[in-house]
């Protein structure tokens, strides 16, 4: 006797052996509709290339900021007319604060000598001056952590107001600005890349929708022979996912090409070359590919969630 009707509840939604079929089908469909797939992949790649470019600039700028911050100093310029007592008072003030304790006193003569050493070609100009224009100063090494703390700013304000102190100069103001710039670049990159990735996802959605329309008859046959919606939609989801993955990998390849080319082109310029000292770390590269996968998957999901009603 023929077998009895098996309860639907006991049947698996997607048979275990269909996952390999999903991938096989998805690769085949990618190949069959090469042109439309190329458009979708190119859209993803361009979006991620733009996002990656922003990330690359921000990454290198961030590295430069970290580097500069690590070697920066606070310089306390003293009034040229400051008395020895006032200088001693400033020294004691610095000594009383642990974060300012690593200090060196630079006399006017030492400052002049250093200038002459660093800018030898300007020695003639300096020699024509009637008097030494360099004020005495304290150079203080401060750890980046201490410098970022809020009390440090108050300390600098209090130091500026100390008698005998002309000016307190520290690099963190512009480093902070640079840090903010890095954040802005990152955010701008994420917004621009995100918008473009969304556009790419919509492109993929349309490509998948188009593919589904091309496969209308097949989908009808599949439904009639008992394929579940998951079995029917699986290859389309995988197709979008693959388009996103290929787009992500292509973006990384293109970004690396752009990076090498730009570095070569910019290398004579000290001002700009620091922006291209290193490539993105693997975590960010992985995030870019993951972004492509996500955009591809979401794009195809947008298409397949709407059922094509045929049978």
């Amino acid at each position: 006797m023929a077998r009895e009707f098996v309860s639907a509840r006991r049947e698996p939604e997607v048979p275990s052996n269909t996952f390999s079929w999903f991938f096989k089908e998805a690769f085949r469909r990618l190949w069959v509709s090469k042109r439309t797939s190329f458009v979708a992949i190119a859209m993803i790649a361009m979006s991620l290339l733009i996002l990656g470019s922003f990330l690359l600039v921000a990454e290198n700028l961030g590295r430069a900021v970290e580097q500069w911050q690590g070697t920066s100093r606070v310089v306390v310029y003293l009034d040229p007319a400051a008395t020895a007592e006032q200088i001693r008072a400033v020294d004691q003030y610095l000594a009383s604060h642990r974060e300012l304790a690593r200090r060196r006193f630079i006399t006017r003569e030492q400052a002049m000598a250093r200038f002459k050493k660093w800018f030898a070609n300007l020695n003639d100009v300096v020699g024509q001056l009637d008097e030494n224009p360099f004020p005495p100063s304290f150079e203080i090494d401060v750890s980046p952590t201490a410098a970022r703390a809020r009390p440090f700013r108050e300390l600098m304000a209090s130091l500026s107001a100390t008698p005998g102190v002309d000016q307190v100069q520290y690099d963190w103001e512009w480093i902070e600005r640079l840090r903010r710039l890095v954040n802005i670049i990152n955010i701008a990159g994420l917004i621009a890349g995100g918008l473009l990735a969304a556009a790419a996802a919509f492109t993929i959605a349309n490509v998948i929708r188009l593919t589904m329309m091309l496969y209308r008859e097949e989908i009808e046959i599949m439904r009639l022979v008992g394929a579940t919606e998951r079995i029917i939609r699986g290859p389309f989801l995988v197709e979008g996912f693959l388009q996103g993955t290929i787009g992500g990998l292509a973006a990384i390849g293109l970004l690396y090409g752009v990076f090498l080319g730009t570095r070569r082109f910019m290398s004579p310029s000290i001002l700009w070359s620091f922006l291209f000292t290193g490539f993105l770390p693997w975590q960010k590269l992985a995030a870019l590919v993951a972004g492509g996968m996500l955009a591809g998957f979401l794009g195809s999901w947008m298409s397949v969630r709407q059922r094509i009603d045929i049978a």
Partner: protein
């Protein structure tokens, strides 16, 4: 196995395909569905596969009321019905083997068994030598037989065929009816829609005749009910 209770199918106000159709086909029966073109045969078969739902009345197949069936249960129900379509409905870009293999994939049959199963199914319709051919490389009769092999591959409880002998020469038509008879002997309930009176006359089977969407005539079988045997191709059980 197949029960229609006062089934009416209306497509719109002016087009009614079936009027108050009531009949029952019992397990293991082989029944011909006859009628002129436009009599409602295809609509009736579509109701059995639940491609359509009745406007009025109830359709029950293997104890399942199709009106009440949830969409999520539909694929599992259809896997138990072997359907042979008038236009074959083979996937053209797939080879004969791939067409059959797809069904086996849906049925969660391990891939290593696909070749053997497909070969056995094609052997039963004498097309085992066309395993790697594409549907468009086959004649109409061969495509029909592939479609039959696909319908038989899962050893279905119910085998439904819509004009499987249409456009075929008499010899080939007889061969195809023979394949259905074999399937019936193996235990499948068969409903075969045809307007080929010669085939019906020679078979001596029960006939349900439709005329303008109504049952015009019903003739009982002249042959003994078949002895129902265990599964086909080793799939059943």
């Amino acid at each position: 196995m197949i029960h229609f209770y006062h089934v009416t199918k209306r497509f719109d106000r002016y087009s009614t395909a079936l009027h108050d159709v009531t009949f029952a086909i019992e397990k293991g029966e082989f029944v011909f569905l006859s009628g002129a073109s436009g009599a409602g045969k295809s609509t009736l078969l579509k109701l059995i596969l639940r491609q359509l739902t009745p406007t009025e009345g109830q359709v029950v197949v293997n104890g399942r009321n199709l009106n009440a069936m949830k969409p999520s249960q539909l694929p599992f129900f259809r896997r138990e019905i072997g359907m042979v379509f008038q236009d074959f409905k083979l996937i053209e870009r797939m080879t004969v083997f791939e067409n059959l293999s797809f069904i086996l994939t849906v049925l969660n049959v391990p891939p290593k068994e696909h070749k053997k199963r497909a070969y056995q199914a094609l052997r039963s319709v004498d097309l085992h030598h066309k395993l790697n051919a594409y549907p468009l490389q086959l004649s109409g009769g061969e495509q029909q037989r592939v479609a039959i092999a696909r319908a038989l591959i899962n050893d279905p409880l119910v085998l439904v065929a819509d004009e499987p002998t249409g456009n075929l020469d008499p010899d080939l038509s007889r061969d195809i009816v023979h394949i259905f008879t074999e399937a019936n002997l193996r235990g499948s309930t068969v409903l075969l829609a045809t307007h080929d009176r010669e085939i019906i006359r020679n078979s001596g089977r029960r006939v349900i005749t439709l005329d303008h969407g109504r049952i015009a005539d019903e003739k009982a079988s002249r042959v003994e009910r078949p002895v129902v045997r265990e599964g086909v191709f080793g799939i059943g059980g």
